[in-house]
């Protein structure tokens, strides 16, 4: 069904495109927000990506590649917006925890740890943050991340390594918690 919808969009069916865009928008918005750390620019990025997706939908040869292609357009738009904004006064809007995450969440991070994580992730380069978001949030393999970013797999690994290393250096020592107890609270 999904493949048929993409094929219809490739043929220029706008209704099919609206169906695909509606189903994809929330996830693309989340990815863009995490990468840019600015909800306004994330909105611009997703809008730009979806418009580009429609304009260039006929370039999509493999209907199965719709998701990866849209990821690529979104991240590419994020990069362009970040670059175009570099000479302007950047107003960094700190993301607030979503009051109603749409899926199960590991709340093993304390508030202090989450604040620290937000600060440290904000200090990463855009290149590193994009890899981390696609790998840890979008749950893509590094091979998929490299393909989306259009970079060699070695570069993706390197960005993940150095990004993780930067975060690790700031991590406080914590006692090891058995995975089965993650998120549990004692009364």
């Amino acid at each position: 069904m999904r493949r048929q919808t993409v094929e219809r969009a490739i043929q220029g069916d706008h209704d099919a495109f609206t169906e695909l865009a509606s189903a994809s928008m929330d996830r693309q918005f989340a990815i863009a927000t995490l990468i840019l750390r600015d909800v306004d620019r994330a909105q611009d990025a997703v809008q730009e990506a979806l418009v580009s997706a429609w304009r260039d939908v006929r370039a999509l040869r493999d209907p199965e590649a719709w998701d990866a292609w849209l990821h690529r357009l979104t991240v590419r738009a994020c990069y362009r917006l970040a670059a175009s904004q570099r000479r302007r006064d950047l107003v960094e809007l700190h993301m607030m925890p979503d009051p109603m995450p749409d899926r199960s969440t590991d709340f093993s991070l304390s508030v202090a740890e989450r604040d620290r994580m937000e600060r440290e992730i904000g200090r990463l380069s855009l290149d590193q943050r994009a890899v981390l978001v696609l790998h840890f949030y979008a749950d893509l393999t590094l091979e998929q991340v490299a393909d989306i970013l259009g970079i060699p797999i070695g570069t993706a690994k390197s960005r993940l390594h150095y990004g993780s290393q930067a975060l690790r250096e700031t991590m406080p020592d914590r006692p090891t918690v058995p995975s089965g107890q993650v998120g549990e609270r004692t009364a």
Partner: protein, 315 residues
């Protein structure tokens, strides 16, 4: 649990907890309002291969309008106007520039796979290439008499480097890459002319390795200089700054002939100042991305913006 697993779990947990679960409803309304008025481009005009993502100092991706606007801003800000002569483009040199502009008063840009030039007020727009191939990333020579650009005959063909006169005449293929450019973005591969226009530096890749080459546009001979990307000639033409090291996350400098490569700092996007120092951006030790400057020998590294906000791409 080892550190890697714990870190990965913490990062995933943070992303899951802070990512918005829904996008704004108005976003889709805006998208559909726009796309409802547009028709998809024919396949031959669409970007078959989307450029890889990387902050670009050269606006060669995006819509033609975006490219033109950003390129205009960059050129006006970055290029010193002179009363330069342009070989073979006299008919184009009619602009009356109100201020700093390109050497010949023209802006070159790519649109829908062709190279165009226009005055800074967008008068006199002239199409220089009109081939079935996809032409992109035009870069003026410092004297403004030639343009170098990449050209791809079809989506599956390798890129070739072409140099033509400012009026589009006498295009010469000076470098047949015979390899795919996949894996490098436009800014990483965009050619950079030496100050005397005698050589062009650029980076190429076969998908696994990235290296910088220096080419003589007069005869097409080239030399592989070093592994890296984003080559930038120093103002005096004796050195090249480039992105190198692990993940191309370091600023390196080498002599113009590729000798004496050395790391000068951690950071990205090296760009020379007119005084011979190198500006770049770096997240530094516990801070946002700031603009830093350093001497070519690695000394005098200092943060010049030092703010809690991110700054990128000094020029």
């Amino acid at each position: 649990m080892n550190d890697d697993i714990r870190l990965g779990r913490d990062v995933a947990s943070f992303f899951a907890a802070t990512a918005p679960s829904r996008g704004p409803d108005a976003l889709l309304d805006d998208v559909f309002l726009t796309t409802g008025r547009l028709r998809p481009r024919p396949r031959w005009l669409a970007m078959i291969k989307e450029p890889p993502m990387r902050l670009s100092s050269r606006p060669v991706v995006g819509s033609p309008t975006t490219r033109l606007i950003v390129l205009t801003a960059l050129l006006i800000a970055g290029i010193v106007a002179t009363t330069g002569a342009v070989v073979g483009a006299a008919s184009l040199l009619t602009s009356d520039l109100p201020g700093p502009g390109p050497q010949n008063g023209l802006i070159a840009f790519d649109s829908n796979g062709d190279i165009w030039v226009t005055n800074v007020d967008d008068t006199g727009r002239t199409q220089l290439t009109n081939a079935p191939s996809w032409d992109r990333s035009p870069i003026w020579s410092p004297q403004g008499d030639r343009i170098a650009y990449w050209s791809q005959r079809n989506p599956d063909a390798p890129y070739v480097l072409i140099v033509m006169n400012a009026d589009g005449s006498d295009p010469q293929m000076v470098r047949d890459l015979v390899i795919d450019r996949l894996g490098l973005s436009d800014d990483q591969t965009a050619p950079d002319w030496s100050p005397d226009s005698s050589r062009i530096a650029y980076s190429v890749t076969d998908g696994t390795s990235i290296w910088i080459e220096s080419l003589d546009p007069a005869c097409g001979t080239f030399r592989r200089l070093a592994e890296g990307s984003d080559p930038r000639w120093s103002p005096d033409g004796t050195m090249i700054a480039y992105a190198g090291g692990p993940g191309l996350s370091e600023v390196w400098v080498m002599a113009a002939d590729g000798t004496e490569p050395h790391r000068v700092a951690s950071g990205s996007g090296p760009m020379w100042s007119s005084t011979g120092r190198i500006a770049f951006w770096w997240a530094g030790n516990g801070g946002a991305n700031d603009v830093w400057v350093v001497d070519p020998d690695g000394s005098g590294n200092e943060n010049v913006t030092d703010s809690p906000d991110d700054e990128y791409w000094p020029s």
